[in-house]
Symmetry: C2
Subunit: 286 residues, 2 copies
Amino acid sequence: MRDFSSDHSMLALNTATLGHNLKGHGAGWSSEQVIEACAERGLGGITFWRREIGTRAIDIGDRVRDAGMQVVGLCRTPFLTGPLALPSRQAILDDFHASIQMTHDLGAPVLTIVTGGVIEGSHSITESLKRVQELVATMAPVAAEANVVLALEPLNPVYGGNRSCLVSVRDAVDMCAAIGADNVQIAIDVYHVWWDTSLASELKRAGRNRIAGYHLCDWLADTTDVLLDRGMMGEGVADLKGIRAAVEDAGYDGYCEVEIFSADNWWKRNPDEVLDTMVDRFRTVC
Amino acid sequence: MRDFSSDHSMLALNTATLGHNLKGHGAGWSSEQVIEACAERGLGGITFWRREIGTRAIDIGDRVRDAGMQVVGLCRTPFLTGPLALPSRQAILDDFHASIQMTHDLGAPVLTIVTGGVIEGSHSITESLKRVQELVATMAPVAAEANVVLALEPLNPVYGGNRSCLVSVRDAVDMCAAIGADNVQIAIDVYHVWWDTSLASELKRAGRNRIAGYHLCDWLADTTDVLLDRGMMGEGVADLKGIRAAVEDAGYDGYCEVEIFSADNWWKRNPDEVLDTMVDRFRTVC
């Protein structure tokens, strides 16, 4: 297991930690301010959200690299299934394609997939997973052509209804194997998997080179909102070192990306404080 | 799989469906009113909560049987771990004992265990599960003496922090096997397991005679509250027939108990309407 106690060169910021995933949240820093603040602190990279990139993907990607960092990834594809998905298969594929193109333009290696929930009227998580699998398999060659890895991110089961029919590492591993494309992999997020005692064995089953991302935050014991009340590392109940050990034992040696949705706490603080805390916690409790 | 399309003799009411698990909710019917309304409709039984029983366990149990039904179970033990547990081991064991005694006095066969969350400061779901296992193993002979089955109920992972470190059927099966007492079994609740594609295989792994209860409700795709916004069967995304098939394939032939926490919807309706709807949905979509 890597020792990060005096080294945070593998720490990355997911800009959701500053509220950039949702309009009207956070301090509203520009991408330039975010890049500068991360570079000043010696972070290794940044993951962005599509809404903050707009038409500036090439420019923002270059700025990150000019500042000595990497663009770690892009959040995310459109929902592929369920009540929040676009209305037609073609609209979903078109937007999926646009997200791949943006990832490519940023020079980012990874695009995160959040699958979307259970197909309306189906009452079937299994059927919904099959639809996701078919759509991801369809787009995998398009992503490969653009040098983009698609990272299936299993979400916490609490999102199973509307946001992600993919809610377990087990199902993500099965879907990766079924698709069988080198560039279809898995993202592991502490918030979504902290409870899963089968994590280490499932990641071993996935085989080497199947983990495309590792996301840090914490699960608050008395969470007040399952979407926007994530904890900073160390504030919650997750076994952060144990989870990282499982991820690294399965061969992951990439960035550790901090992604904290926290409307009433961290998003209300000064981003400088958030970034400083994040660096400190990464070195001490992750 | 049993055919309930024209038979609801195996349908049971969990009184939480009428708001009886929380003070100040529901229409406030007396136990006598609940028993009469269930008997009138031909239900097979009732599961109560400790708060509504008080010192009347023997009397209420007799009334249920006099009305031609069974007391199916009692909710529930105290939390055994985590921030909501009583302050000392002895206090927890004493209250655990009291809940076993109440189950016995009611003439109910099953007492549900909700384990409690992650031990404060431990950051370890594994350590918390070990503590639960030790406490349940300690009380299993006491329960056996009282002819009471202890039903470990894995809750949805969203409760992992504060209410239940036991959040997967897999972990419940493992804990049953580790304790190895005939009267330590598992309760399966749709709300908690609907997302788990390993349900059927895990229940097979549990072996025969390990399921002590089956609880019905539905998971609403756009749930607004993870504690008090459960759906009536048919309103949500769960594969109700598929889940029951898995439970029955594993040998369960007992009651199907409707347990719907719904502060802003079903608890605000007339209990007669709730019970009528429940019977109709049980026959048509469960």
